[in-house]
């Protein structure tokens, strides 16, 4: 063993109590770091997962990012002609040629898609009215791109195929209107068409707003209700790898022209909030390690002060400044490394404990377990930060020790 390491260990073991206190500081710091980080990152992952699961990976809608240019403007592209008060050409809403576009999207590798016609309608039952969002879907295709099928309490999406008069509603709406399977409701569209429809399915996603306002019916029936024969206004796209969503959306939009929004784009604001949250969280937990390193600084400073005479002897014997410095850097490193290791174990124990905690947050109907993230990078980060701050804490006293001038001490001692 290197002589400097040997001396370092001797110093630490000869001051057991103080060494232990600074060790505990590092252990607690690392454990707390991990507990907080695993929870924050876990809840973030959980949140994103829900987001990805419950919303389409890509939504192609019947809109363009920039308004189409009017024929008059196209006729004089860069002439000195100023056009004003033109009555814009009215567009027929909907995705034109959606069958070909759907075919193109589905042909992309790892991509599934389904057509949807979305609109709004008013549901009346027993004299009560409620505005709802009504989506016309092709059940077999919808099942491929959405998790809604898994959320059915009663009935299923498939019943819509067999029953053109069927409607699927959420649990919230069912409770509110006291609807059951088989109840008949009256559906009125904005164009004035009214249809009596039968409840053939009830779902519960856990998202209260969604469960109260979203309804599904067969695409054909909704097209009739909304007076938009043969039209759809959304293509819902699902990917095998949700993280490719941004690229695929860009590709789709470039090819078919319609606005294609990936979940990543749609949740940019949330993602940046999450990022800010991570920065704040890591600053706080790192600050705790910095505080812990003050303990190390204190311990090593004390040792340097107590051992000035020993340092002078070592230097007179022929130890260089760097050798002496290394002794005290090793001390910081030892405390940092052992503290981190014990802290990792303690942190993992706490994480295991947190995983057992069950709770029922408002707005969610099911009991959930605390989402604990076990990702490796937080362990690496905690260890690296703990060891580096321990070294940094040792650095000042170590430098001071390296600069001890033996003659000053020898004179004073004799």
């Amino acid at each position: 063993m290197a002589i400097q390491l040997d001396i370092a260990i001797t110093h630490l073991t000869s001051r057991k109590r103080q060494t232990l206190v600074s060790l505990v500081g590092v252990v607690l710091g690392v454990a707390f770091f991990l507990a907080v980080s695993s929870l924050m990152r876990g809840s973030e992952k959980d949140f994103i997962e829900r987001l990805v699961d419950n919303s389409p990976h890509i939504t192609v809608s019947d809109e363009f990012r920039t308004a189409g240019r009017q024929p008059a403007a196209l006729a004089w592209p860069d002439g000195a002609v100023r056009i004003s008060n033109v009555k814009p050409q009215t567009e027929t809403r909907g995705i034109r040629g959606w069958r070909q576009k759907l075919e193109y999207v589905e042909a992309l590798p790892g991509v599934r898609a389904a057509p949807v016609l979305m609109g709004s309608a008013v549901l009346t039952f027993a004299g009560r009215e409620e505005g709802v969002s009504l989506s016309g879907v092709v059940p077999a295709m919808m099942k491929e791109v959405s998790t809604i099928e898994d959320r059915f309490v009663e009935g299923s999406l498939d019943t819509l195929a067999a029953n053109p008069n069927g409607i699927v509603i959420g649990q919230g709406l069912a409770d509110k209107f006291d609807l059951d399977m088989g109840s008949t409701v009256s559906v009125v569209s904005a164009t004035g068409v009214t249809r009596a429809m039968k409840v053939v399915g009830i779902f519960r996603t856990g998202n209260a707003a969604y469960d109260e306002s979203q309804t599904f019916a067969a695409l054909k029936r909704v097209q009739v209700l909304l007076d938009r024969p043969n039209r759809v206004n959304r293509l819902i796209v699902q990917l095998d790898d949700p993280h490719r969503a941004r690229d695929v959306a860009t590709e789709v939009e470039r090819t078919i022209g319609y606005k294609s929004v990936s979940w990543i784009e749609a949740t940019e604001d949330i993602q940046s909030v999450l990022q800010v949250r991570n920065v704040i969280m890591y600053s706080v937990v790192s600050a705790i390690l910095v505080v812990a390193s003050f303990g190390i600084y204190n311990t090593i400073s004390t040792i340097v002060m107590e051992k000035t005479r020993d340092i002078a002897i070592l230097k007179s014997m022929g130890f260089r400044a760097a050798d002496v410095q290394r002794v005290f850097l090793y001390e910081g490193l030892i405390v940092g490394a052992i503290g981190s290791f014990a802290g990792l174990l303690a942190g993992m124990a706490i994480m295991k404990g947190l995983e057992q905690v069950a709770l029922k947050p408002p707005g969610v109907n099911d009991v959930i377990h605390l989402p604990v993230w076990w990702g490796a990078d937080q362990f690496v980060l905690a260890t690296a930060f703990a060891v580096l701050s321990s070294l940094a804490a040792a650095w000042l006293p170590a430098r001071k020790a390296g600069r001890v001038h033996p003659v000053d001490i020898l004179r004073g001692a004799s």
């Binding site: 001797t10 000869s14 070592l314 007179s316 014997m317 022929g318 130890f319 260089r320 001692a413 004799s414």
Partner: protein
């Protein structure tokens, strides 16, 4: 050096050759402390010490003996003049090179033993060998044991310094000073803190180092008997060599 001057010395087995090489030389060495009131600790000392010599540095308290010893031992750097060790001008060396010279060629014994309290006697003696790294661990241990045995403290090898008597500690310190087989051993009042029996013991050991092992010993001392055993006595008064000084 005349025969009379050496008269008080015990019989020497190997007489000091007149042409023995100079191992340590001070050349007009001055050490000044700058400050509001500058202090001159050593004021122009020129001195040659030959291989195998046993030199006693004497003088009144506060006359600059220790300061001179630190300069000769490369622990301190002169404000003016040069110190030559083993034919090398040390004035061109930086701090690390001076440390290396101390490690390889010099050994120190101080008034207080200055052993590391947490290490055993054996480990204290091994310390300089481990730092130098020229001996294999078992070889270094064998040498440390041999040195301890030679100075009659072999039994104490696994004890802590605090469990030893003052005389034993000083003998361990001498063993440690010899660990890397130095050219010169420098001692600052090595018997200053010992009873008369231990003093005589340490005095004999240092004397034997020169006369049996051909080491060079430079010792600052107040002890008349010690000085009498030396080959040469150098008086220091007010930081200068004073030929006429007598205790």
């Amino acid at each position: 050096m005349t025969g009379e001057e050496r008269a008080g010395a015990p019989t020497r087995t190997t007489p000091l050759a007149a042409d023995a090489p100079v191992v340590l030389r001070a050349e007009n060495v001055v050490r000044r402390l700058e400050g509001e009131v500058p202090v001159t600790l050593v004021d122009g000392v020129t001195l040659d010490i030959r291989r195998g010599e046993f030199v006693a540095i004497m003088g009144p308290s506060g006359s600059g003996k220790s300061s001179l010893l630190y300069l000769l031992g490369l622990l301190d750097v002169p404000s003016e003049g040069r110190v030559w060790l083993d034919g090398e001008d040390t004035s061109r060396y930086g701090e690390d090179e001076l440390a290396n010279r101390r490690l390889e060629k010099l050994g120190f014994v101080f008034q207080f033993h200055f052993l590391l309290a947490e290490f055993t006697v054996l480990d204290n003696v091994r310390l300089p060998m481990r730092r130098l790294g020229r001996r294999a661990p078992d070889e270094a241990e064998a040498r440390a044991r041999e040195l301890l045995g030679h100075f009659g403290v072999a039994e104490q090898a696994h004890k802590r310094p605090s469990q030893l008597s003052g005389g034993q500690r000083q003998r361990v310190a001498i063993a440690r000073a010899l660990a890397n087989d130095p050219l010169v051993v420098l001692a600052d009042e090595p018997t200053g803190n010992l009873d008369s029996v231990s003093s005589a013991n340490v005095r004999r050991i240092l004397h034997d180092l020169t006369h049996e092992f051909g080491k060079t010993v430079v010792a600052v001392t107040h002890d008349g008997a010690f000085a009498a055993a030396a080959d040469r006595r150098i008086g220091i008064v007010d930081g200068r060599i004073d030929e006429s000084w007598r205790p």
